[in-house]
């Protein structure tokens, strides 16, 4: 399946895009998704285990990514 991953702020700058389409086998976890992204050019500027949100909530690395999930990488937040 194809998962679209939203990117923001410094991560969007590092990967040169506001989103990435990532090809993943079924039953892949958040951890697998991050590994796939780490192969992309510029991803070396990301931390080893970036925060991931699935459907607007912070997700654990063993969470299964389902077709249709809204997935995003979350750089260290700096609101306020």
């Amino acid at each position: 399946m194809t998962v679209t991953v939203l990117l923001f702020a410094s991560y969007a700058d590092a990967l040169g895009a506001a989103s990435l389409d990532v090809e993943l086998p079924r039953d892949s976890t958040v951890r697998d998704l991050v590994s796939a992204i780490r192969a992309r050019p510029g991803a070396d500027r990301l931390p080893a285990t970036p925060l991931v949100a699935v459907n607007l909530q912070y997700a654990a690395s063993d969470r299964i990514v389902l077709d249709g999930d809204e997935v995003a990488l979350i750089p260290p937040v700096a609101g306020g």
């Binding site: 923001f8 949100a53 909530q57 937040v77 700096a78 609101g79």
Partner: protein, 148 residues
Amino acid sequence: MTPLATVARTPIDPLALLRRVASPANGAVLLFLGAVRQVNEGRAVTGIDYAAYEQMAASELEAIVAEGASRFGTADVAVEHRLGELAVEEISVAIAVGHPHRDAAYALSRWIIEELKRRVPIWKREHYTDGTREWVDPAGRPSAELVP
């Protein structure tokens, strides 16, 4: 009144938030305003742009406000975070709380700003006098904390 949590591109009106949390039950009202500072960690700043994962920022902020209201026992909470380009002295965030007692008002206000800074997906890029821009990365934040 029902707690309010907003992420918006328009200037924040502190008085509107104060009006929102007014109630004859409240002996204490506290308004926190975060503003763009001219100098941050020794560098001269000309402005900041705030970016967000807007939908998630709105839902995280709503969750914080609802949890704070419930923990501290008041419905009089109104929070607004600004997005977009802000000049020095402009308000980036406003937190208004009303409570019968001042102890709880201070504690709730503080709790909300700390939670907001910990988990709402908003990012800021400082603009410096030399024309450069940089995303602010709050050092040493342990990201694992945010995972359920």
